[in-house]
Symmetry: C2
Subunit: 79 residues, 2 copies
């Protein structure tokens, strides 16, 4: 089963990478670019064959490794 995880800084947490991208886009002449936030996307191939098991496993991975839940939020897509 395939899973995709997005890990983003929580709203209100300063995102210097996103700010750097916004600044660079401005320098390149792109108009009308407001806030930019940058995060990570992680695609996983899992042996689990049912959705619920896969989701539970990925949630545990997020809590233990993939996200720093103090400053980051994550969301999980299965399938």
């Amino acid at each position: 089963m395939k899973a995709r995880v997005h890990v983003m800084l929580k709203d209100g947490v300063l995102d210097p990478q996103g700010q750097a991208v916004a600044h660079a886009l401005g320098t390149l002449g792109f108009q009308g670019v407001g806030e930019v936030r940058q995060g990570k996307v992680i695609d996983l191939d899992l042996a689990a064959t049912d959705r619920a098991t896969a989701e539970a496993q990925v949630r545990e991975m997020c809590e233990k490794l993939l996200a720093n839940t103090v400053i980051e939020r994550y969301d999980i897509e299965i399938g």
Copy 2:
């Protein structure tokens, strides 16, 4: 208008970050984890109010700044 861009290494391009995640998950005791690929996700707030304009603008951003199209592919979601 909001846009989300995913930037991933192309298939066949070595992804050491993904491999490190896969290895760490194994070390933590997670079973049945196959390939892991890690990429970037970039969320943008755009002033453009129609879909086609926004998509064209973001495509240009990807080509010029957000992705290294030699080794990375990108996909764009608008709205």
